[in-house]
Amino acid sequence: MSEKTITINNPSGLHARPAALLVKEASNFKSAIKLVKNGKEVDAKSLLGVMSLAAKQNDQITVRAEGEDAEAAVNHIAAFLEQLSEA
């Protein structure tokens, strides 16, 4: 298992459009990928799951993955979340 915690910088948080992009990115990996916010865990490959996190600017998100490409997945998704800017 691999994991990494990042902070959302995007002023409008993890909103509909970035959420959809994130699900697309996550779906490229074989590993099971989870996002965790305040103990709430959701499937990163589920748009509804990601949207229901309602992640805002300055929220801390932990990316966790399990599977053959877990490390690559965590690095990629964490970087994706960190670089989000006004989309």
Partner: protein, 568 residues
Amino acid sequence: MSQTLQGVGAAPGLKLGQAVWWRKEKPVAPSRTITDPKSEIEKLDQAIAQAKEQIEKLREIAAERMGEEEAAVFDAHFAFLDDPAFTGEMKNRIENQKKNAEAVCQDVTEEMGALMASLDDEYMKARADDIRDVGSRLLLILLGKQPFDPSLLTPGSVVIAEELTPSDTAQFPEGVAGMVTAKGSKTAHAAIMARTLGIPAVLGLGSKIEQIKDGDTIVVDGDKGTIQINPDQDVINRVRTQIEQQEKARALALKEAKAEAKTADGKRIQVFANIGSLSDIEIALKNHAEGVGLFRTEFLYLENDHWPTEEEQYQAYAKVLSSFGERPVVIRTLDIGGDKELPYAKLPKEENPFLGHRAIRFCLANPDLFKTQLRALLRASVHGNLWIMFPMIENCSEIRQAKALLNECREELISEGVQVADKIPVGIMVEIPAAAIAADLLAKEVDFMSIGTNDLTQYTLAADRGNEQVAHLYDAAHPAVLRLVKMTCDAAAKANILVGMCGELAGDPSMTELLIGLGLAELSMSASTIPEVKQQVRSTDTAEAKKLAEQAILLEDGDQVRNLAKKG
């Protein structure tokens, strides 16, 4: 047997057609234990595939009728059907709980909907409706029932419904003859849509609507606000002749609509269109609008999941300005607050939003957001004949502040080497009674004024047009409202500036003569009524209109005014 029902005439016109019920039933799923999860999951997969087909069809129709932006909501519906948290979870439960597909579909939809609705985020809350919509579509399919399919509507259909949302009316195919609902008033969104599409509508029939059966012959009279169910052949023939005559008159009006509108004695009255989105441009041009008297910019904000950028706004403004060429386009700056909510903005809830922090008040308090819009407007100004209008003005200081920001933006752009039109008329909406009463003071600060009768009426009469209990008190033809209109027109005449009207009253052909008599020089309305109003302008004599107006403001109520106007 023939029967006549009285409702509220919400969009004018007379049509004859066949009733089609637009039912929105809430399906109920029986719960049972299953032994073969595999075949249950297969059943669910088939239902998902069918739901996708339906949604694809809906999306196509919506894109064709309303444009890509309106159709995008169906993309979300489509995506949910593949979502592990939604249909994926249903399959898990079939496997683990050994429950039937219908029951897990209902459970997951309810839970997911409740979860989204509980989030502290307006945008996500709105997604709850999407989830429930998709979930009930799926459940209906599983139960072997069909959700209402708008392609059942054919030319000549009269849509009968408990209530219609704008997204329902968006799916109307071409040629729908009329619209009849149990709930709703003249100012409901569905009513505005009906007027835009030129479909006669009778709303607010209440439980009487249940007497209508699918396939009944219905006469919809949007002017009188009545419908007739299965009338005698005599009546049908009479109505047919009437419709033919009206269509001929309408065709003639449309043919003559190309020409400028002048009264019988030669006074020029400008007849403009109100526009609320880019898809309205074409309807306005088709009806020969002489310009745009009110371009509402809210759609840019409401249809986005972020504050629209300067570039996004610029593109929209440039499009509308270039579409109208030399004809004036009055663009109103952001008017939110009140009933409108921005999902991404987190505006605090107010006890009394219509008397609260909205429109120009909000913009002046958020100068960065306001300047983004003003910069976009100024950049677009080179593409046509831009007029800028500020909403909800109540004192001179607000105008001066707004103009100062506008100037600041102009100087910034010029120093950046961006071209801006030299002369851009700046005006205000007169919609707060105080603005009408003190119009002489405000007139000194601006190039034009436009009376927004919808808000002016509700503020003057202290009646919420959306509240069925007091909706009958809401009447733009009330002499008190007309007196405020006259005060505004008199002040504009004294200051020698243009005065117009962009509320719904302006688009009522039976009121045209009266409005000209009150002193209005520009009328802006839903595009479909332009040809008829132009005809009314041509048959008006200004001296007589003035006499009519003087009589009208001395009457007791709106009904008396309307009767007088009809006799005119």
